[in-house]
């Protein structure tokens, strides 16, 4: 008579057992890998560096004084692939290495120039690699980057990475790049992949950039590692690494990266220090942002494609050191013209560099898609080979909207 309930119970237990929910792990059975650095090693091997969180030091309460000293450990090993590397890692640490909380891949320039295609097969297929893991290229050794990263404000390096890349829009001097976005651009018909550029600054205060400022901008463009400074975390993010296919071909400096973000339509805000249009020795500070998304049109009717870009920027005046009344009238137009010219030249310089490198980072190829009926036709057009020759018509308009807390200033009184 109890047969039915018993059978029901057995079926239930069976149904639950077959759910496959048997992967339970205590938190002290798992080692959380926070960042992975990959360098090229001889004989087609990879030198892999793991930064693994050490939860001991993160326990709240009792002894929190020695907290920031050792929040994580560093392990370096050489293996032919990431999977093999993880196997070897298990021979070193007592716990199960888990990648699900991985924040960033740091890949050395040398390896990136050889091509990253082999790595991405694993990244996209393996469950534990998330699409939101950031991708950074380092000018130098990835191992060194992981070693020398000493965040000033954050306890964990993972937090440093997250905060850096999630607030990139504060300056747009580097762009947020994760492996999903990279992979998408890698496999799509158009659009060159890009990654964040990392570098270890020698902290000697020397200006290594030595290039000319573009337009009326008062500051020159920097790549990571070039910023003249003497203190702080030696690690810096600045500029963008640009790929052709899966191979690294070149870098965009911070000004070019911002120009790129304008064309990508995600510039939220950014300061500019310009030469005063009337008093070239003085400077004007502006905060610019996009008035609307750039209007991009690609004409492929002739053999050489023609790209028409119209950018509309808005800006706020932050500082006028000469005291000229740029807030109103013709002066305002003059200043707006100055901004437009600078941005125009910065964008042009960026586009020229990408055309020289043959990489369509802005993804102009996206805009030609409606002109084809089938994917095959689109593929046969070979946009990537046409892009370097494309003629670009750029138009930048700026409108100054606000003038900060002051309506008007007067020049400094002369003695």
């Amino acid at each position: 008579m109890y047969l039915r309930p018993i059978t029901l119970l057995l079926f239930t237990v069976w149904a639950l057992i077959t759910t496959g929910c048997n992967g339970a792990k205590e938190t002290d059975e798992v080692a959380y890998i926070l960042s992975v650095g990959i360098d090229a090693a001889p004989n087609n091997q990879l030198s892999i560096t793991y930064r693994i969180a050490d939860p001991h030091s993160l326990a709240g309460g009792k002894d929190s004084q020695s907290q920031s000293q050792k929040s994580s450990i560093l392990i370096n090993l050489t293996a032919p692939s990431l999977t093999e590397g993880r196997n070897i890692l298990k021979s070193i640490i007592s716990r199960e290495p888990r990648i699900s909380h991985l924040k960033i891949f740091v890949i050395s320039e040398e390896l990136a120039r050889k091509g990253l295609g082999d790595l991405f097969g694993l990244f996209m297929r393996h469950r534990e690699y998330r699409g939101t893991v950031f991708l950074a290229i380092v000018r130098g050794s990835a191992k060194e980057v992981l070693e020398k990263n000493r965040p000033d404000l954050d306890v964990l390096t993972s937090r440093w990475v997250e905060s850096m890349l999630q607030s990139y829009f504060e300056s747009s001097y580097f762009l947020r790049a994760d492996i999903y976005q990279f992979y998408k651009r890698l496999k799509n018909e158009s659009g060159a992949p890009y990654a964040v550029l990392l570098g270890l600054n020698p902290l000697d205060g020397e200006d290594r950039a030595n290039n000319e400022a573009v337009g009326n901008d008062r500051s020159e463009g920097y790549l990571a590692k070039q910023i003249p400074r003497q203190s702080g975390n030696p690690l810096e993010m600045c500029g963008t690494a640009v790929f052709k296919g899966d191979k690294l071909v070149g870098f965009l400096n911070n000004k070019e990266t911002r120009a790129l973000s304008i064309l990508l339509g995600d510039l939220e805000r950014g300061f500019m220090s310009l030469e005063d249009p009337l008093v070239p020795s003085k400077q004007v500070d502006i905060n610019i942002h996009l008035g609307r998304k750039p209007n991009i049109n690609v004409d492929i009717s002739s053999t050489i494609p023609a790209i028409t870009i119209s950018v509309y920027l808005e800006g706020d005046i932050l500082g006028v050191s000469s005291g000229t009344n740029y807030e109103a009238g013709d002066y305002k137009v003059l200043l707006e013209q100055q901004i437009s010219n600078t941005i125009f030249e910065q964008i042009t310089s960026m586009l020229k560099r990408t055309q020289d490198l043959g990489t369509d980072v802005v993804n102009f190829g996206y805009y030609i898609r409606p002109k084809f009926n089938t994917v095959q036709e689109l593929e046969n057009y070979h946009w990537d080979s046409k892009y370097p020759e494309a003629v670009i018509h750029l138009d930048v308009q700026t409108k100054l909207r606000r003038d900060g807390l002051m309506r008007k200033t007067t020049p400094i009184r002369k003695e």
Partner: protein
């Protein structure tokens, strides 16, 4: 068909797994109220019954007349008739009056058009008694007392007193109403001039006295605790203020405390308890039936409902169930409920237990039934839905916005109390990816020095918490708080310090315990506490999938449960017209209808516009 081994096997498996109709009678499902099913509706009697009623009235008059003639004959024979003259004269006038009332047209008019309440008193004590019995639906309603007596005097006048037991002060009634009337006036000449005035002036030493000649005023007075005395041959009653339903013994509610509203709680005295309900609900529609329960110790069980609202089949069903209890002793309403509820094996309460008369009154007005057992201060209200357990007594004393905040808080508390430990276990075991890295590492860090697995920590702490809770109830009152302090503070602190549990577990168990205390109903809170352990087991074994499965099963369980024929999850499942008082509650002046699922006789509580002063045209013309 060949009867080979495969078919035999198939049949045996089918017998085991296949559906077989249950051997128990079909469960009771509360249906719509159908007036033609119930014989007890007073207003629309068929013509035949009316005719019978009229005929028996006439017959009674004839009997009375006959008795009078006999009496007259004896008096005339005895030759002392001048003494009796006044009485006879009075009786003749009374008979005259009754005759004039009895003209058939008037009689028919009285009985068909006028409800018994609006009738005026008759001169016949018989008629008056019958009317009172109709009004109070005697003998169903048995805390209404009719006390027959004769007034000592010359002549002896028959009379009876109407009062509600439990609402009158018995001593007052005995000493200052019955005693003077029955004993003191040995030689007083009655029936001289105005009889009632004479009684009031000379016989009744009571301080609150009123004279009345309509049943409506008698009813109102009796419902509020007064005693009405009706005399033979007089179409006027005397109402004596005896309204003192004993305050003694009524104390503040200990279990259901509230900031606002009535503070009175039921006590152990049966009649005080029924009196408390009557004092809250002053209508003769309130029926308090008494059923004896138990074979060895016969104990009174009161079934309280409002006759013009509660569904008759529901009342019949509850009565049938209570009458169907065959046991020798019942000591507690909780025991009684377990005998009669639909699902005794499910831990969730299916009746609302309360010790507050105001709550009982509120539910009775909604059309529910209250069950009270003699010697027990807890009244159980049936049928109830799941959401009723999250309402508190004072919900309607506050403004809707405030109450809604508190109600959401309570539901959230219940949810947290069920789910928090299990969700922690599920996430920390199976879904570590779901947490932000920093939080995960903080949790992992706090667990680094703890040797036990996380599920064991939770079970250990939950168990300790239950120990503290149970110990706090069992020890004498003044030790309770110190147990809480010792248990919660010192034990938790020491356990963390000794690396037996991680601090986060202490936080989780403490907040779970706190959340479980904000569920207003103690029995619901206990059931939910039990549920927590089941969910914990599922979460520790199967993660969030297990948690979801367990929740699904609970949902299925809730949806198939019934509380006295009413689905447990109404008005959500099945969907019925929900008033403004389920999870949230609307303004009190928009609570126009009673709960749909109760299928009451009178759906409407108040008109759509219940604040009539808001009407524009009023106030200009109506004001004096």
């Amino acid at each position: 068909m060949v009867d080979n081994i495969f078919f035999m096997l198939y049949r045996s498996v089918k017998n085991i797994l296949g559906y077989q109709p249950p051997s128990v009678p079909p469960p009771f499902v509360l249906d719509e109220h159908r007036p033609y099913d119930s014989p007890k509706v007073a207003n629309q009697q068929p013509d035949k019954e009316k005719a019978l009623e009229a005929f028996s009235s006439l017959l009674r008059y004839a009997h009375r007349l006959e008795g009078f003639i006999d009496k007259l004959a004896t008096v005339l024979r005895s030759k002392t008739w001048d003494k009796e003259a006044a009485e006879i004269k009075l009786e003749i006038t009374a008979l005259d009056k009754q005759l004039s009332q009895l003209t058939p047209v008037l009689l028919r008019y009285d009985q068909s058009i006028t409800a018994p309440k609006v009738q005026r008193l008759s001169t016949s004590i018989e008629e008056n008694r019958r009317t009172v019995e109709t009004i109070y639906q005697l003998p169903r309603n048995n805390d209404i007392m009719l006390r027959d007596f004769s007034i000592a005097g010359n002549p002896r006048v028959k009379a009876f007193a109407v009062f509600i037991e439990g609402m009158v002060d018995s001593k007052l009634l005995d000493n200052s109403v019955l005693q003077p009337l029955m004993l003191f006036n040995y030689s007083r000449e009655l029936y001289e001039g105005n009889f009632t005035e004479q009684i009031v002036r000379e016989c009744l030493p009571s301080n609150q006295i009123k004279r009345s000649d309509t049943f409506a005023s008698i009813e109102t007075a009796v419902n509020s605790g007064s005693t009405a005395i009706i005399f033979d041959g007089i179409d006027e009653a005397i109402i004596v203020g005896t309204g003192a339903w004993e305050h003694r013994g009524v104390e503040r509610s200990q279990i259901e405390q509230s900031v606002q509203g009535s503070q009175a709680a039921f006590s152990e005295n049966f009649r005080i308890n029924t009196g408390l309900v009557r004092s809250m609900l002053r209508t003769s529609d309130l029926i308090i039936e008494t059923i004896k329960v138990g074979t060895r110790s016969q104990i009174n069980c009161a079934l309280m409902y409002i006759d013009s609202i509660a569904n008759t089949t529901l009342v019949d069903e509850v009565r049938r169930r209570i009458q169907g209890i065959a046991t020798d002793y019942l000591g507690d309403t909780g025991e009684l409920i377990q005998f009669i509820e639909d699902h005794p094996s499910i831990p969730f309460p299916q009746s609302l237990s309360t010790e507050r008369p105001d709550r009982v009154a509120g539910h009775l007005v909604e059309g529910r039934i209250a069950i009270l057992l003699e010697g027990n201060p807890f009244v159980h209200i049936v049928p109830v839905s799941f959401f009723s357990f999250f309402h508190s007594a004072e919900d309607f004393s506050h403004k809707p916005t405030v109450v809604n905040f508190m109600r959401i808080l309570r539901l959230l508390g219940a949810f947290v109390s069920i789910i928090l430990p299990s969700i922690y276990i599920a996430i920390s075991y199976f879904h570590q990816d779901a947490l932000p890295t920093e939080l995960l590492l903080a949790i992992a860090g706090s667990r680094e020095n703890v040797t036990f697995p996380a599920w064991f920590e939770i079970v250990l702490m939950e168990f300790s918490f239950e120990l503290i809770r149970e110990a706090g109830i069992r020890v004498p009152g003044f030790l309770g708080s110190s147990i809480g302090i010792v248990g919660a503070l010192i034990l938790g602190q020491a356990a963390v310090y000794a690396n037996i549990v991680s601090p986060i577990i202490v936080i989780i168990v403490a907040s779970t315990g706190l959340a479980s205390f904000c569920i207003p109903d103690y029995r619901m809170a206990s059931a939910i506490r039990l549920l927590r352990f089941i969910l914990l087991a599922f979460a520790a074994t199967f993660g969030l999938v297990g948690l979801a499965t367990a929740f699904l099963w609970i949902a299925v369980l809730f949806c198939q449960m019934k509380s006295f024929g009413v689905p447990y999850m109404t008005p959500v499942v099945p969907k019925t017209i929900a008033g403004y008082d389920v999870v949230l509650r609307g303004p009190i002046f928009q609570q126009d209808t009673r709960p749909d699922a109760l299928n009451v006789k009178d759906q409407r509580r108040q008109p759509n516009i219940s604040r009539t002063w808001k009407k524009i045209n009023q106030g200009k013309s109506d004001k004096p």
